[in-house]
């Protein structure tokens, strides 16, 4: 099982504050992970990747820069040095524990197609049974574009095929969200046709450099999806070496962080994204959480919240705060 992290903020953040400094950063998670579903493969040492957009982007290409490596993230001195220099207002990061696909750079998340960037935490169940259908459903350009051999990259190609023009200069976040939901629906349909009953874990994240869409999803009515949390606030503050907290000054929401596991030890910083939910972060940083009401929707499942291993059950006030918080976040937005 992999780990993912994404950041979108009004201000660029130094990559080190997210990737390397926090004691429980995605890099450290890669060898000390507590919240995993899959315990057979106990760490994420099969490569990593980080992709980010420029603060300025003077060239107006709006293409992300992607740095990947098949060596473990924690011993990659290039990553450590780059993270101490590079700032970005929009960042994806991923550490990998290979479930399908060899350990090669072509199989490291995230990938980008023009300005669109994608990563995946989870796995498409029995992907081999639908691989051919998926490939044959793709237009030539996208079929030929895939370089690696993972289910995740093919799912990205499928997503791209649901966009009017994947090479466009601008995208509406509604179109991105719609394509994401179509991707999930299509994968579900093929799984059904192939009589696959094992559930797929589909935590996808995609961005065009402006909006971010991510889903916490499992094709099951009863199981929980792989964990996914988010935090928002005014700034991400280091109060002690390795220890960070999200500061909310004046209730302004200047940054959003989404992660497989909480980056900080402050329980109150993190809210669980409920299973089978799509999250939209608009260019102006409004956040919308919506349940995905398909055949795998289950009312009672959506509200369970877990943060950290010590917290078996989020106390009621917290859950309410979360509900309040979400409504607060999402009520004024047009998305």
């Amino acid at each position: 099982m992999c780990r993912l992290l994404l950041y979108k903020g009004k201000q660029p953040i130094l990559l080190a504050h997210l990737l390397t400094n926090p004691a429980h950063s995605i890099i450290n998670q890669s060898f000390d992970s507590r919240l995993r579903i899959d315990h057979r493969r106990p760490l994420n040492g099969d490569g990593f990747g980080v992709g980010w957009y420029d603060s300025e982007d003077q060239d107006k290409t709006h293409k992300p820069c992607i740095f990947t490596s098949v060596t473990p993230a924690w011993s990659n001195s290039n990553l450590v040095r780059l993270a101490e220099k590079i700032k970005s207002p929009l960042l994806f990061a991923h550490v990998r524990a290979s479930t399908s696909g060899a350990v090669t750079e072509a199989n490291c998340h995230p990938w980008n197609y023009g300005r669109i960037m994608w990563m995946h935490n989870g796995g498409i169940a029995q992907f081999e049974k639908i691989k051919r259908k998926l490939q044959n459903a793709l237009p030539e350009e996208l079929f030929l574009w895939v370089e690696g051999s993972t289910d995740s990259e093919w799912a990205f190609a499928l997503f791209l095929s649901f966009l009017d023009n994947p090479s466009a200069d601008t995208f509406d976040h509604q179109e991105l969200k719609a394509a994401m939901l179509k991707t999930i629906a299509q994968l579900n349909e093929w799984a059904e046709e192939a009589n696959i009953t094992e559930p797929s874990l589909l935590n996808f994240a995609v961005t065009d450099g402006e909006s971010v869409i991510c889903v916490r999803y499992i094709s099951s009515n009863t199981l929980e999806a792989a964990s996914l949390y988010f935090s928002s606030g005014t700034r991400f503050e280091c109060y002690r070496p390795g220890h960070y907290r999200m500061v909310k000054a004046d209730r302004r929401e200047d940054m959003v962080v989404v992660a497989s596991e909480p980056l900080t030890f402050e329980e109150a910083d993190w809210l669980t994204i409920p299973t089978n939910t799509v999250m939209v972060i608009t260019p102006k940083l409004n956040v919308l959480l919506q349940p995905i009401k398909d055949q795998f929707y289950a009312v009672e499942r959506g509200l369970e919240v877990k943060v950290g291993e010590d917290v078996a059950r989020i106390p009621e006030p917290h859950a309410q705060m979360m509900a309040h918080h979400i409504s607060q976040l999402t009520s004024p937005t047009r998305s």
Copy 2:
């Protein structure tokens, strides 16, 4: 353009004698190559691979052991050390200059499927135009088996699809040869359907651990295929550090070496395999060279012979010797 080498002998040979010791070994060729067609990419530093069969094979799996690396062959200390220890009676080696497919281990030749091993020097012209057809022509098992993204590996899958049972325990060299010729014919057919006129360079080699089939082929009536030479004799002797020669004692043919470029500086050691020829080395080391008489067959082209850059023209006696040699090699065989 890549470089390939293969050895089949009655006795196992230390890999170093072929791979690392000769001054003009395939490793040294990787940074000092004189006979290439494609001068745009002047060296082969995009990975290498070597595959070999055990002398003994006590486990009777008959599967080759394959060692690949994406770092340049010449600086790979593991390769140097292994080559000084491992002996094999049947060896494939390949250095790569990427023409299609990323530089990843999954894209390094040779590949094996069970006991069958394959490598390719050249390229399928405009492969992207026939990639989908090729994939859809494959049975599920072979379609899913491919890990990398090169034309060469997909061509191997196509070859395997022409075998009765690619997982069989034994193969007849006639079946292997037939599958090889069908592979070329099928690629030509698809190229024609896709209106591809650019010629493909199809120097393929395949073995089941017993027989070896290799072709020097180009889908053109006028151009020469990528170079391919062979040498045969009793032993491969080092007479000075870095300098080897093929010794023929008692006219016995105890070993055959096939290579993109001569391994020795002894002109007489090497015979050109004519363009558009299939070569069969039987389990008992009989060698058969046969022209491939398809739409790209051109009588006059078959006999030109070039060895080394200093030799513009093989003198007549040598060419006759070659013809004699070939007939001598092949006369007693039933193939």
Copy 3:
């Protein structure tokens, strides 16, 4: 903290039986380790190495072949493939969690100097305080020979400096043992001169291809050294996929395995090498265990035995069996 394994047997063993097949092999230990002292760095993903001697060694060089990699052992497909083919009667293997020295191949254990091979599990405390003294104590040849930057490789150079002729063709195991003890004594002396009170963990193993010397050692009177176990028997048998046991037929001792952690789940297979003990395996497979009676010798510490996390205390009969076993193995000796 690293992990090491060594095998010496009358018969060559397929590397896979030790390295890749056992569920708790050194490779799997590298991401699921239970018996470590140092919990700060929870896994061994910073490279690995394996070195082995030929069964036959027709060239009579008696030099080991060493294969190292900076990528994690568990995802190295070359290692997996080589382990399934190569047999050896004498093997060292090591997975590394870097404590000093960058993650480079030059810093991967084991190293060889001619026919002598060395590896180390542990660390020399505050090595930087004695590094210069160590270097200046070396003859020019050994000073210049070191390629990497680890304390372990410099300790090997120091060991070599205590041999009459480190390039000799044969060594007596007494000489090797004496050099090992001098190495430890010298490191202790320099540590004292530099006022280093932090204990060094010095589990060293060395072989000339015939004898093996290894020590479980800590420069402390009270603490335990890093764990080290051994097992001996007639054959190492796989009774279920991933599950092995040491079989002792007719009480013959045809093989000895030494490892940081037990390779099998059979408690009775493994005996602890007591802290501050030197172990000698002679060319004929006699095993000698001797306490190192220097300033860090502590009588009561030597007999504690732990195998596996579930076994807080080896039951009395087992400890007696161990004592018996050792005396039986070592009867001509005292230990």
Copy 4:
């Protein structure tokens, strides 16, 4: 023989314009080099490195960011992607063909010590004969700081030992130049003591993020040093894909490029730095070229100028222009 490149400009430049876009960039030089002295090792595929300072450096650390890799520069997709995003006003780049030291990241140039960055093209003759003296001349801190095994990194440590405080926040370019000349003098003195007559090739470059000092030097009265060129102007312009030229508008000198081989095909863009010359680029971009008048100084050698292989002899006017240019560049400064 390696290749180096450095850029200092009033404006930051996109790394791609120097590293990856030019048809004859340092990356392409790494497999198509025409001006080398050492033809035994015909390419630079043994790793590369690039180090740069931030345009802004909001953290005021003034430490460069360094990216190194042991895979060949030309196939490193991370390098290609980073070069298309990162801008810097001061950049060092290096491709390596190993002459001493293993192919590991620790041996890739450039290195930095705090804000000081260093690289080397060439080699210290018979370095093993002076290595111990050099190490013993270093203060403890610098002795322990070296991670790799190359002569180049040890020469950097020697250079640092000639600075009053290598960890200082600011440096005077006079101090840097003096330390550079002391480094060369000291290496010469040790070479003499060790009776080394083979000449050393000492093209060093160093910067503190403000000034740049580089030398083209050989410890010989008669031979030429490894090539070194420079170009200065207002902007580095791409007039055709892969083709660049240095534009000099209003005679303003807004950037200086120094390189082992010319980056452009415009002969007039490049001036040879004469053998045994020290070049200083001040923080304000004044350029000073001074002969190094030690025992290896030879008047007549200093003026030869070669640019490109087609130009056997720079015509007189050009040489005068160079002299003029240099005086022009350097007259207002004393530096």
